[in-house]
Assembly symmetry: C2
Homo-oligomer: 355 residues x 2
């Protein structure tokens, strides 16, 4: 692959890699500013990006640019099959750029989350500026890329970024493909419980029995968690990594919501590892354990445990369940901070009227 | 003016004012963030803005929004007659927003320029975000403004801002009128001496004799300034506020370039006070003193002194000339810092091939 070698010479530090999904790309790091919009802070950091040029027409072929979202960029590269499927047809160069404060793109290394003076640069605006800076540099220095049209791609929050990138940097990117991107999911624009409604529908599509069982289980768990003894039983029932007490029942409840939401998000017809290993049609698989007439609370909770294990423990390798970490393999430690400091509408069980 | 009262009730701190140009507006202050793109710094400051609603159709009339540039916003309000001329016809609300770090909109008061930690937020991106923040707040809180279309206006750097505002905040402003805006005046896009060429043409349009005299004067001054004695004579000749020595001749030279540039910039057919009081057709007035066959250096320098006095001392009130301050009445102390930290192409006599 002459192109890869050419890139390798230009951009030191490439590591060739064929992923578990069978995709082949090289890894690079680009030095950019921590703050793109002022000069009170002139720190820089290295952001990671992946390049696959085996399909690229070096004489003007387009650049498909993935605007990385909240996680290790390799996960998105390996789960965005569309870009790999289309690359040969369009003779496109693929770039997957990692979002600052995720994966290996930490502005302040291990101290990146130590206080607002460090994580205060974890914003959408700064991330978009990273991508614009990277692309501008890339097009200026990689032979053949100067005149290439750029199409930004992204899924979920990454899709929001892809669309916003086109809006805010129209001179850098020509088009955007925003997949499953809740661009309008902000307070005052979209009802608070819109996401929960969609998640519920994904399960209701399997059967009313499934959603009824889930609904009933929340009531059972809430009652049971009211006592120390009951909370302890739930802790064991769901093999939690941390102790459960009546005072932190909401952590358990919110984690269940996250797990059901994750099941709905990865409800693809094929087995995948996007948020963790799951079978094809995972919602259907989960509901199989709930489509019964439960005669007592214990058998209901047993069914619930089996249902969530479709997401939590499909391979049988999970030793305990950690309600504090529902992001699966995404490595999305920065997400909670980002949500806190932006207007993202992340539905919360306790904030929205839910069904 | 019911509208003004209504605004006054909503937005405390308005001061009615009829300017020397006869324009009537009220003054307000809006609290916004020093850093709009992160939260490492959560400081806020008050930005000044002027509002004239005497022409406004409160039921959907448009908002004409001046994106303030490098100076006291009142100067721009009083010298942007177009907005005042058009306001009655379009039944428009006029807003003139002051650029951060100019006039009374100082993020850190008198310490605003004390080091990068203070003036590091003097950037185009932050200023545009101020305007977006102000308009968003204004439209949300002023009755009748919610559905008003916004047209951004600006001249010179303010025109660049008006255009960029439309590009970067298309959801906030519907159109932009960028007047005399050197949007493409960046290195690599526009020749370095493009501005100087235009300035020269403004004088050449009067007569070749005028430009020849100016050209000759630079040679005369350079030779004369080479000695302490000659520099002292120039200091007295041009009534400089500070001592002139051979070592700082370039300050004098650059100041002359600025004065000629200012004359060209305010070369309106009518008397105006935009950068300071000048007569109508000021370049023509200046050239009148130079369209002679000078027989010796002294008479040439006398003519030059009279020519620059058309800009520097039209009213006879100037006691001495300060080459360190060529911005006239704009109060543009932050401009040098801004130029230093952006890619603005400000032609320099010593950097560009000039004519």
């Amino acid at each position: 692959m002459a192109g890869v070698c050419r890139l390798g010479l230009l951009l030191a530090g490439a590591f060739g890699f064929a992923s578990s999904a069978g995709y082949s790309y090289d890894t690079y790091y680009f030095t950019t500013k921590v703050d793109h919009f002022g000069y009170a802070n002139n720190d820089t950091f290295k952001m990671r990006y992946l390049v696959a040029d085996q399909y690229w027409d070096h004489d003007g072929g387009p650049i498909f640019f993935y605007t990385g979202n909240e996680g290790n960029i390799e996960v998105f590269a390996n789960n965005t099959g569309l870009m790999w499927d289309w690359a040969p047809e369009f003779k496109a160069l693929l770039i997957f750029a990692e979002h600052r404060y995720y994966g290996k793109s930490m502005p302040y290394g291990k101290e990146s989350f130590e206080g607002p003076s460090r994580h205060g640069y974890l914003t959408v605006e700064q991330a978009l500026a990273d991508y614009a800076d990277l692309l501008t540099h890339f097009k200026a220095h990689v032979p053949g890329a100067g005149d290439s049209k750029v199409v930004s791609f992204g899924g979920s929050y990454g899709g929001m970024l892809a669309a916003w990138f086109r809006l805010k940097y129209p001179h850098v990117t020509t088009a955007a493909l925003a997949a499953s991107a809740p661009i309008l999911q902000f307070t005052g624009i979209t009802p608070c419980n819109a996401l929960n409604d969609v998640v519920t529908k994904a399960f209701a599509k399997e059967s009313d029995q499934c959603t009824s069982a889930i609904r009933a289980s929340f009531e059972v768990m809430r009652n049971q968690a009211a006592t120390e003894e009951g909370a302890k039983a739930l802790e064991e029932q769901f093999r939690l990594c941390q102790p459960l007490a009546p005072s932190n029942y909401t952590v358990l409840r919110d984690w269940f919501v996250d797990v059901y939401t994750n099941l709905a998000m990865v409800n693809y017809p094929y087995a995948n590892q996007f948020l963790g290993p799951v079978p094809g049609h995972p919602v259907k698989e989960a509901c199989k354990y709930l489509e019964k007439n439960f005669t007592d609370d214990q058998s209901l909770l047993d069914g619930i445990y089996q249902a969530i294990s479709v997401f939590q423990n499909y391979t049988g390798q999970t030793h305990c369940n950690d309600p504090a970490d529902s992001a699966g393999t995404l490595d999305a430690g920065g997400w909670d901070i980002q949500v806190l400091h932006t207007a993202f509408l992340v539905p919360r069980w306790d904030r929205c009227q839910s069904n």
